[in-house]
């Protein structure tokens, strides 16, 4: 796999998928970030960096539209997100700290329920996605009987059948074993190669070829995008 995307070049050539202009967010009377501007280009993987409490999760929630306590501008393919919310939601996949998995349902039922709101997927494809995340044989075991890592894998199975180009992934590497991490990294790169864009926060030592970095910090802010 080759990754020769260059941000400077890409900025001239292709329209950003998502653009943030002068984002400012205040939480508990503390400014998490201000004047934060960046563009997420198609074909990129961007890692959001920063110490604990620097606002990584908050930033991702703002981008996904789950947090309203911010000022600034967010644009999806050139026009404000607010004016095309459904279109944006159709093309965005967000995975948060809480994986959205019902402990009482089986992996297959969970995945089916999660996809029910997004697009029609056959049961065979769902099973295949679960097998792809190493959950073969666990399709019909209630999720509360699975380990934390396995539960996260159920949520990650969505990535294998996702057709959304923009992924916002918050701490997806948590509780995933070494093999899983490797597979996931490959998946992120593949989505980028297919013209998607991935924003990821992680404390795992992620270093992918051509990866961009967006650094949030207390006070000092550097934006390498």
């Amino acid at each position: 796999m080759r990754f020769t995307h260059r941000p400077d070049y890409g900025a001239l050539m292709s329209e950003p998928l998502l653009q943030a202009v002068n984002l400012q967010c205040e939480r508990d009377k503390r400014i998490l970030f201000r004047e934060l501007s960046f563009s997420i280009l198609p074909g990129t993987v961007t890692r959001v960096e920063g110490p604990n409490g620097s606002g990584k999760t908050t930033l991702l929630r703002i981008l996904a539209g789950l947090n309203d306590a911010w000022t600034g501008e967010l644009k999806w393919r050139g026009s404000p997100v607010d004016s095309q919310r459904e279109e944006f939601l159709r093309n965005m996949l967000y995975l948060g700290h809480r994986p959205g998995i019902k402990p009482l349902l089986t992996p297959l039922e969970n995945l089916r329920a999660l996809m029910a709101g997004r697009r029609q997927v056959s049961d065979a494809a769902l099973r295949q996605a679960l097998q792809g995340t190493g959950l073969a044989g666990f399709e019909n075991v209630p999720c509360r009987n699975l380990s934390a890592g396995q539960q996260r894998r159920v949520a990650l199975a969505r990535l294998l059948i996702a057709d959304e180009p923009l992924w916002l992934l918050d701490e997806v590497f948590t509780a995933i074993d070494a093999d899983g991490v490797q597979a996931l990294e490959a998946l992120l790169l593949q989505r980028a190669a297919e013209g998607g864009a991935v924003l990821v926060t992680t404390h795992h030592d992620l270093d992918l070829p051509g990866m961009h970095k967006l650094t949030l910090g207390a006070g000092g802010l550097s934006d390498e995008c």
């Binding site: 050539m13 789950l66 309203d68 159709r90 998995i101 349902l105 029910a116 997004r118 959304e164 180009p165």
Partner: protein, 241 residues
């Protein structure tokens, strides 16, 4: 090297209609509920207990029970729905399914409507089904029982719909119970008054059409407005969470 072509963005090609998405939400809530049957029984047991304790605590006389029966059943049903409200969004909030629900590309109020319908079918509807039995127990006559069932059938969905607003508003709070009751009970009072008023009118042999029409108007109002309010409240709660 610079001439490397950037891959084209492939936007999501297909999507699911609002009705199919509502069905998905409804089906999941039903499935989760039936995996946890003891939780389903709680509102029912509460309903039965309150209604059976009243004759023991106040008076087992037929004249008293016939007079107060409809009121007792209505109050018990109202409290029973109130007790179940906290579960409406709480578990979904804790495990992250609520975030995913809000991020579905369909109007949120429709998805909440589907959740509320599921909630009613799991709490309100069983109460209506049980009412004839308990009605006989408090010596209501056949006509009164029929009217009582009808008022509960129209009234309990209103309770679920209004309750959804309160449940969504108090979602971010640690101990939401008291506040939820304080917010919701004033809005329940008109439903209670017209619900019991209908049965009282029926017992006196008066026409109940107007009462039922008013209850129906409450239902229509709740059906059209409550999901919007609950959707807005839910977004606020998630934004703080």
């Amino acid at each position: 090297m610079n001439a490397e072509a950037r891959p084209e963005v492939r936007l999501a090609s297909s999507s699911v209609g609002a009705l199919a998405a509502m069905k998905g939400v409804f089906a999941r809530d039903m499935k989760v509920a039936f995996r946890q049957r003891q939780d389903l029984l709680n509102p029912l047991l509460f309903f039965i207990m309150v209604v059976t304790l009243f004759p023991l605590g106040v008076s087992p006389e037929v004249s008293f029970l016939r007079e107060a029966g409809a009121g007792i059943l209505w109050v018990a049903a109202l409290l029973s729905v109130l007790l179940s409200l906290d579960h409406l969004f709480r578990h979904d909030f804790d495990d992250g399914t609520l975030e995913q629900l809000v991020l579905q590309p369909q109007p949120l109020f429709l998805l909440i409507l589907a959740k509320t319908i599921a909630h009613w079918m799991l709490t309100g509807l069983p109460l209506v089904v049980l009412t004839p039995v308990l009605g006989v127990m408090v010596h209501l006559d056949g006509n009164s029982i029929a009217v009582l069932c009808l008022t509960l059938l129209i009234g309990t969905p209103v309770l679920s719909l209004i309750g959804a607003i309160g449940a969504a508003l108090t979602l971010g709070l640690r101990s939401a119970g008291v506040l939820l009751s304080l917010l919701i009970i004033p809005l329940y009072i008109p439903v209670l008054i017209f619900g019991t008023g209908t049965v009282a009118a029926a017992a006196e042999g008066a026409a109940v059409g107007a009462y039922l029409a008013l209850l129906g108007a409450f239902l229509m109002l709740a059906l059209t407005l409550a999901p919007f309010a609950a959707a807005a409240a839910l977004k606020i709660s998630l934004s703080n969470g």
